[in-house]
């Protein structure tokens, strides 16, 4: 505004009408993009709401006590998902128990031993690739490695596939959390005469606990819903089974085969299972966030 009151010779010649039109156009462009941005966010939220509402609507309608007390049965007879739920719990628990220590060691290696080394960079790169690699390929890999040579589908093969999926998730969070710890803390511990491994296990891991737990919870949430890798490993089982040497039932596989079936009661059971799994996964995610929030 003040420029227009100056003598014209001092600044660029300005036509007020042109300047006002330009300003209007810039403001209009800004408003348009803002509007589109609001719309985009709304679209994202609508999708989430639609998924959740569909699940609640269809899932609660199919939910009853026999879902938790009965095993899967042929169409027409009152069946449940008990064997699938137990099978999933077994596989996810074992995969987490095996994958977490390995992932933590790799993350510790990257943060404490391999800063800037070529080998460390390679491991970090490979772990990042594994983090986003298609899970179906991990299933195929375990099929080649554990199912073909040993002559059959097995719960252990399913556990192996889920372990491979959870490792890079734990690696990433462990490394990130250890990197956040100030070096002065490490120097203080070493200065007191503690060996390096004690510094890592007793001090660094403890300082990073909330972050590492967050990573493990997110990892559990991820593998609990994995379907594709289990198709080629633990295969699924319609009978009650806790035998890890044979085909083991799991919730995602049961949902997959039931949702694609022509039987109405099976499809309803699939919705009930889908609601269960989504609730579990979302609760784990929210829990993970609150653990991290409290740690900070």
């Amino acid at each position: 505004m003040s420029a227009t009151t100056m003598p014209p010779a001092l600044g660029p010649v300005k036509d007020q009408a042109v300047a006002a039109a330009l300003g209007r156009r810039r403001k209009a462009a800004d408003r348009l993009v803002r509007l589109l941005s609001y719309a985009a966010t709304l679209i994202g939220l609508v999708f989430l709401a639609s998924i959740l509402l569909t699940l609640f609507y269809k899932g609660f309608g199919a939910m009853n006590l026999s879902v938790f007390t009965e095993v899967t049965k042929p169409p027409g007879s009152e069946g449940g998902l008990l064997n699938a739920i137990v099978g999933s719990l077994i596989q996810v628990a074992l995969a987490t128990a095996i994958g977490t220590p390995i992932g933590m060691l790799v993350g510790t290696f990257l943060a404490e031993y391999a800063k800037g080394s070529a080998f460390g960079n390679l491991v970090r790169f490979v772990s990042d690739i594994l983090l986003s690699a298609p899970s179906i390929l991990i299933g195929l890999f375990v099929y080649q490695l554990l199912v073909l040579p040993f002559g059959g589908f097995s719960g252990w093969a399913g556990v192996a596939a889920l372990t491979i999926i959870i490792i890079p998730i734990v690696v990433r969070t462990t490394e990130d959390m250890l990197t956040l710890i100030p070096n002065t803390l490490r120097e203080a511990v070493i200065g007191l005469g503690a060996p390096k491994w004690k510094m890592i296990v007793l001090i660094c891991w403890r300082a990073a606990t909330s972050g590492i737990i967050t990573g493990i919870l997110l990892g559990i949430a991820r593998i609990a819903g994995e379907t594709a890798p289990l198709l080629f490993t633990s295969l699924g089982n319609n009978a009650w089974s806790t035998n890890l040497n044979g085909p083991l039932p799991s919730l995602p596989i049961t949902i997959y085969s039931y949702a694609g079936s022509p039987f109405q009661d099976w499809i309803e059971l699939a919705w009930a299972g889908a609601l269960l799994i989504t609730l579990a996964v979302l609760l784990l995610n929210i829990l993970a966030r609150s653990v991290l929030g409290r740690g900070k």
């Binding site: 800004d30 999708f47 569909t54 390995i102 195929l140 491994w197 198709l231 949702a259 694609g260």
Partner: protein, 327 residues
């Protein structure tokens, strides 16, 4: 200080600290070895995946040679297999999903970094991240039972009657409105990768030094102009990295696509036609192939091709993203 440290070692008592140090150093060796071994194990995993998939696919590669990659034949009866259709479907659905997802993801990231009131930033951000946590099989069911009927009854007929009538691009939107098909699969994929791209964009947008943005605001720029002329140029490499990350995810997505793509081994001119992707073919045909058969080998060969594809995309993504996010 140095003297004080070296002095006790010279005295006869010097043996004691050495003995005291030895259990620690043994623990150190052990722990360091365990960490290194775990690192090596991760390398072995990736190497193992590549080698096992290649070995498994070798009979198919031998039987059909290089033309396996573009051959569109898939006949289990005569045992003739080709990857052409599924590679086409994989790339078309993934690229289409990116085209649909990127503008929306940008809008979400723009909202979360510049427009949202502070109290809404966390809940909306969390909601978007929860969208990424929903398992892919849930997307599959949702897509199959809710989105596909909507597409088939309302959206596709409307598009076929309007855009489908246009010359040239019309051909992409013709044919019967099945509801399922390439386009619906791409739409579901787009929704699935939207949170990944949006979260990456938000994270890199937040790393633009505030001074740059404030300078631009000081010159009288609007919010959009600051985004377009300051934030985007500053972050464009990472933004492309985030998009590649989404592309990598879309290429290998299995369950959601299997539900809605229609599963037909043909390349149709229309995006509304059915098709398949590498992942959906592997998931569907695996149950019907015997151990040791040529078909199983063909599926493993498909897996190997998918691995190479996603490895390239993910490697590029990481190469573009890592330095900026770490810095």
């Amino acid at each position: 200080m140095q003297q004080a440290a070296t002095l006790p070692l010279g005295t006869p008592m010097g043996a004691k600290p050495q003995r005291a140090a030895s259990p620690g150093s043994f623990g150190d060796t052990l722990f360091s070895a365990a960490c290194h071994a775990a690192g090596g194990f991760v390398l072995l995993l990736l190497g193992g995946i590549i080698i096992e998939l290649f070995i498994g696919g070798l009979p198919a590669f031998r039987a059909f040679g290089i033309p396996f990659i573009w051959s569109t034949e898939w006949d289990p009866v005569t045992e003739v297999f080709g990857a052409g259709v599924s590679i086409y479907g994989t790339i078309v659905t993934a690229v289409l999903a990116i085209l649909l997802a990127v503008p929306v993801a940008f809008g979400v990231a723009f909202y979360l970094t510049e427009l949202s009131p502070p109290w809404l930033r966390r809940p909306v951000g969390t909601a978007v991240e929860l969208l990424a946590a929903v398992p892919s099989i849930i997307y599959g069911m949702w897509g199959f039972f809710l989105i596909a009927p909507i597409m088939g009854q309302y959206i596709q007929p409307a598009v076929i009657d309007t855009i489908g009538e246009l010359p040239l691009i019309g051909e992409l939107f013709q044919g019967p409105p099945f509801g399922t098909g390439i386009f619906t699969a791409a739409l579901i994929l787009a929704i699935m990768i939207l949170p990944f791209i949006a979260a990456t964009m938000r994270d890199v947008f937040q790393q633009v030094p505030p001074v740059y943005k404030e300078s631009a605001y000081g010159l009288g720029c609007t919010t959009w102009e600051v985004m377009r002329s300051v934030v985007l140029p500053y972050t464009r490499i990472s933004v492309v990295g985030g998009i590649m990350l989404g592309l990598g995810r879309a290429l290998g997505e299995t369950m959601a696509v299997t539900f809605v793509i229609g599963n037909a081994n043909r390349i149709s001119a229309s995006l509304f036609g059915p098709g398949n992707t590498i992942a959906s073919v592997v998931a569907l045909e695996f149950g019907e192939s015997e151990m040791g058969s040529l078909k199983l080998s063909a599926l493993l060969a498909l897996g190997f091709i998918l691995f190479v594809l996603s490895f390239i995309v993910l490697a590029i993504s990481r190469f573009l993203l890592r330095p900026r996010l770490k810095g």
